[in-house]
Symmetry: C2
Subunit: 226 residues, 2 copies
């Protein structure tokens, strides 16, 4: 039986609100801070913990033996990260911005004794992960560069966009290289894609990290057809 400790001091509420489908869980483990540069875990690490992002954004990445990087996912508040296989983490996990994560014992994934509520939440999250990855397969395998970028921005807008007067404001915590490595492109191609979307009047860039989506339906169309 787990010892129940009081929750750590109230979850810091940052710029990244909790996602709508978030599952709230009481947990005996204190939240812990994450900061850019320091890895939460690395490929090959023994997986003692899974984490739920409370605030901030994490980046999962995997490497080829020849050093090429593939960004597996960006993880936003309310989402879980660190699903192990054979008790071992499968990729590197780093924070893009300072934030807080809530650890959960990895054993709760396979063992329903202890906290059944946590167990159910973790399994549900794993299934959601599988679905998200299947959708990303289509993006990587069957979409052009501009379609990939549009699909990416559209998905991010749904997760982290702030709608003001019919215009969606979107902050990108990741750099162009991160986006490129997520979409299977180069930074140059991502940059060119941004320029095209800007020239088409679909988005507006305040600076490389902050943009406004002027025409959401055009963006969604660009994500599908070209």
């Amino acid at each position: 039986m787990y010892v129940t400790l009081p929750d750590s001091p109230a979850a810091p509420v940052g710029q990244w609100g909790e996602a709508k489908h978030s599952i709230r869980l009481r947990s005996p483990i204190h939240q812990q801070p994450v900061s850019p540069g320091a890895a939460l875990f690395r490929d090959g690490d023994e997986a003692r913990w899974l984490y739920k992002v409370v605030t901030g954004v994490l980046r999962l990445s995997s490497f080829t033996e020849s050093g090429r990087r593939q960004v597996i996912a960006f993880v936003y508040p309310g989402e879980f990260v660190g699903f192990p296989c054979c008790g071992v983490h499968q990729c590197d996990c780093e924070a893009l911005v300072p934030g807080w994560v809530q650890p959960f014992p990895a054993a709760a994934l396979t063992d329903q004794r202890g906290d059944p509520e946590t167990h159910a939440a973790l399994v549900t999250a794993a299934l959601r992960e599988i679905r998200a990855m299947q959708e990303h397969f289509v993006t990587l395998g069957r979409k052009s560069a501009s379609e990939r970028l549009a699909a990416f921005l559209s998905a991010l807008a749904s997760r982290a966009g702030a709608e003001v007067d019919g215009v969606t404001h979107l902050h990108l915590p990741m750099c162009r290289a991160d986006i490129a490595d997520f979409l299977g492109l180069t930074t140059e191609t991502v940059s060119r894609g941004m320029t095209h979307l800007r020239q088409a009047g679909i988005i507006e860039l305040d600076d490389p990290q902050n943009l406004r989506i002027l025409d959401r339906s055009a963006l969604d169309e660009a994500a599908e057809n070209d």
Copy 2:
């Protein structure tokens, strides 16, 4: 509490042996046959069952709204298929060759009451699925056409290759178009890739569906570097 029925007549042992890491489970549900052309389930179907492949090979595929196909996975004996999200299947599932599958109630994924053994096996399979998908991301996002094909053949050889006198014999139950849609390529590129591997002395083709891997280490090298 589940009603325990006797197992269906002995599992037919076909050309595709059970994978080494297979998890044996007693189950109350009868095995069912699958044949090419008939879908086991389709994208959007209510997910009442998951399936463990006993014999045969299945193909999971997903479609763009514009009709482009992405093959998500090929599923070999011993592997599970049909992980739902929100109670719904996420892609189409068809058999490539006649075979048998063992159904498991989808509820056993999220509900630990009933059969805890099945539950644990399904969760473990889901985690294995996540790992396999992460590896495929690297293939789709960061490998050239020839690297993808080599990586594909190498992976298949590990799963389904038959070693005879130091030469790995491999039967491909899927057509070139299936391979292409799995690797994010075209049939022509897959075909050219096969020719290159053949001309390099790495593989030998008896016919399009049957090949021998003459130099496994060269194949693995081609999968990584080029």
